[in-house]
């Protein structure tokens, strides 16, 4: 009768370094809060694992800073990003213009800050709408199966068989460049990834014994989706959403670079790169292409690191 209360004690004898082992043990005791036998919920364990992921935490810090700067851009920009000043033509960085000025005499720092608004808006909005749409269709496909599933998955196949950049270029050219168009078009080509993942997870979850058991207790389909499917779908979706947003930012930069991004003269990172294509600028005026280039690379890299950290954190096989 006496059932031993199990606690997640680190497995002894594993070939971990002594130091790591000890740290884990301490963490476990801290997590136990002195209340024997009460385990942390899986989501709290995931949060804790994420916080131990240094690279991911640094990325989150950088991205939060970027987000803050983007939100505050109108307040903190030293100049109007679109104010043309012929007197300050391609000036190198100075006290007045920290990152110099471009070919129209506009302040590079101000344009960089305003460009962040566009990039982050596109990245976040496209990723959120793509995962939202993908989740909805994936759940529908996974639950109803049969011909509904077949139709949705064929549509997914169709979307995945297009070269996205070419079609997106075409669509933007037809619809006319604007932030909304770019978000819609990018989302339209990114939802299949999320849809496939959600469908696959929901198909495997619905075969679980605990779903049968829930049905036997009288739970309806909606309750089963809410209680048993949203949970397992969320971790891979979060990871996908981060990667999709990185992808969206890159796509937006590429579109702007090709001249089909946001309407001019609005500042975007890709647009700034496009304006810096000439040999003279590339060789002699690095302040015109280095800042937007670094900004794009750093943002995308950080988002990817964050995605990695999330993936590791959600993996229950990872300990602390």
């Amino acid at each position: 009768m006496s059932e031993n209360v199990q606690t997640a004690v680190p497995v002894a004898g594993r070939s971990d370094e002594e130091g790591i082992g000890r740290r884990r043990e301490r963490e476990v005791q801290k997590g136990g809060n002195g209340r024997a036998g009460q385990a942390l919920s899986p989501s709290r364990l995931a949060i804790r694992r994420f916080r131990h992921h240094r690279l991911a935490m640094a990325s989150v810090l950088l991205l939060s800073l970027l987000l803050l700067l983007a939100v505050l851009a109108p307040l903190i920009s030293p100049y109007d990003p679109n104010a043309v000043n012929t007197a300050a033509y391609r000036e190198p960085p100075s006290g007045a213009h920290w990152l110099g000025t471009d070919s129209a005499g506009r302040d590079v720092l101000s344009r960089l800050l305003h460009g962040a608004r566009v990039s982050l808006t596109v990245g976040i909005a496209a990723a959120v709408s793509a995962t939202g749409l993908g989740t909805l269709l994936g759940l529908i496909a996974g639950i109803f199966r049969g011909w509904v599933d077949a139709i949705i998955m064929r549509v997914v196949d169709v979307f995945l068989s297009f070269p996205p950049l070419v079609v997106i270029l075409l669509l933007v050219a037809i619809l006319g460049p604007s932030v909304t168009t770019i978000i819609v078009v990018i989302a339209a080509f990114e939802w299949p990834t999320a849809c496939r993942i959600v469908r696959q997870v929901s198909l495997s979850v619905r075969e679980m014994d605990y779903v049968l058991s829930a049905r036997a207790m009288g739970s309806g389909s909606l309750a089963i989706v809410r209680r048993h499917m949203i949970g397992p779908v969320l971790p891979p979706l979060t990871v996908v959403a981060t990667l999709l947003s990185a992808n969206a930012i890159l796509l937006e930069a590429a579109l702007s670079f090709l001249g089909l991004g946001v309407e001019r003269p609005n500042a975007t990172w890709g647009g700034m790169l496009q304006a810096a294509q000439s040999m003279t600028i590339l060789q002699e005026m690095p302040w015109l292409w280095l800042p937007p280039g670094v900004a794009i690379a750093a943002t995308v890299l950080s988002i990817n690191f964050m995605g990695d950290g999330l993936r590791d954190a959600f993996d229950p096989r990872q300990r602390l």
Binding site: E3, Q38, S41, P42, Y210, A214, R215, S219, G220
Partner: protein, 350 residues
């Protein structure tokens, strides 16, 4: 195919059965073709009764019961015929919404594998509470939680307040099965279906679970359908036994009579294959041969190729025996042409 109904009418309709299954046939789609998993079976269960359905794997025990609750995969199982009267309604005619009302409230199921029957990332208390709140809209979260604690302590889970907050992985197998039983009885069902409730557990825990099931029955006063291949469990718990073979009921009897003198050669062979304390032989007895493929059933009695009584008689080979009374007026039913010959054999005579 209504032999049992007729038998009951002859007895005079004393009590209304709680659940009355008639002429149930279920086929399953498979790669080899249609599997005749359940073939024209019928049975009754009364309030307060423990009815055991015994048979080897693949004899149709679980399929017949899961079909009643609409728990079979709809793309696999086809109900060819049948009625299942429960509380004035035919379970097999109910829509999904009405069936949902029945499931977990009037009829609950305890599954074989308590490891897999709980969601691993939700606490036990959360899952029992949900089972309560599905059927009772007025139940608050807090009320359902405290009821979960009561239920857990009822089935003998020590320290239920703490155990409610724990996850399935923190439970041992026996405790998890107790929790499963607690969840099944959460809404005081009139019928509890226990689908091999002790198969995944070791012997000592099995005995405890049997005690819990007894207690639960006393508590709710409902009926239990016990699906099992464990004859020991049948002897411990059941009042009446149905023996299934190849999708059919081959024998139906009270538990004492069944063990004392089986009226079907298959039942007899099952009982003979039980190892006994004091038995000196080195080998376990088994029934030679295999159950026939349910895709292509042999003509005649499905058991005749393995039967020790048949001696390859023509009747056995050609005519499938109906389930009928062994003696007129008796409640014992057997589907064997030569069930009377079994009288002469003593099963303990080795």
């Amino acid at each position: 195919m209504n032999e049992m109904a007729e038998a009951r009418e002859k007895r005079g309709a004393e009590r209304e059965p709680l659940l009355s299954v008639r002429d149930l046939s279920v086929s399953l789609r498979s790669d080899e073709g249609l599997v005749q998993a359940v073939r024209n079976i019928g049975w009754d269960i009364y309030d307060g009764e423990v009815l055991a359905i015994v048979g080897e794997s693949g004899s149709g025990k679980s399929v017949s019961v899961n079909t009643l609750l609409g728990l079979m995969r709809q793309d696999v199982a086809i109900v060819n015929s049948g009625h299942a009267e429960f509380g004035g309604r035919d379970l097999l005619n109910l829509g999904e919404r009405e069936l949902r009302e029945v499931r977990g409230k009037d009829i609950s199921v305890i599954f074989q594998d308590p490891m897999a029957s709980f969601n691993p990332v939700k606490t036990i208390g959360d899952q029992i509470s949900e089972a309560i709140r599905v059927h009772d809209e007025r139940a608050t979260r807090r009320w359902a939680w405290s009821r979960s604690i009561t239920l857990l302590s009822m089935v003998g889970v020590p320290n239920p307040e703490l155990r409610c907050k724990q996850y399935p992985h923190q439970y041992s197998g026996g405790m998890r099965q107790r929790a499963m039983i607690a969840m099944a009885m959460a809404n005081r069902p009139r019928l509890l279906i226990a689908d091999e409730p002790t198969t995944a557990l070791d012997m000592t825990i099995q005995a405890q679970i049997i005690d819990v099931l007894r207690l639960v029955q006393k508590e709710t006063g409902g009926a239990i359908v016990l699906i099992t291949h464990d004859l020991g469990l049948v002897a411990e718990l059941a009042d009446r036994v149905l023996v299934m073979y190849a999708g059919k009921i081959v024998e139906s009897a009270g538990v004492v009579e069944l063990f004392a003198s089986p009226r079907h050669p298959y039942t007899r062979a099952l009982l003979e294959s039980l190892p006994r304390i004091g038995d000196q032989s080195d080998e376990l007895r088994s029934i030679s041969g295999q159950m026939p493929s349910l895709v292509e059933l042999p003509e005649g009695c499905a058991f005749h190729p393995r039967c020790s009584l048949s001696h390859d008689r023509q009747l056995c080979r050609e005519l499938e025996p109906p389930l009928q009374e062994t003696n007129s007026g008796s409640e014992r039913l057997s589907a064997c042409h030569f069930s009377r010959e079994l009288d002469e054999l003593d099963i303990f005579d080795r």
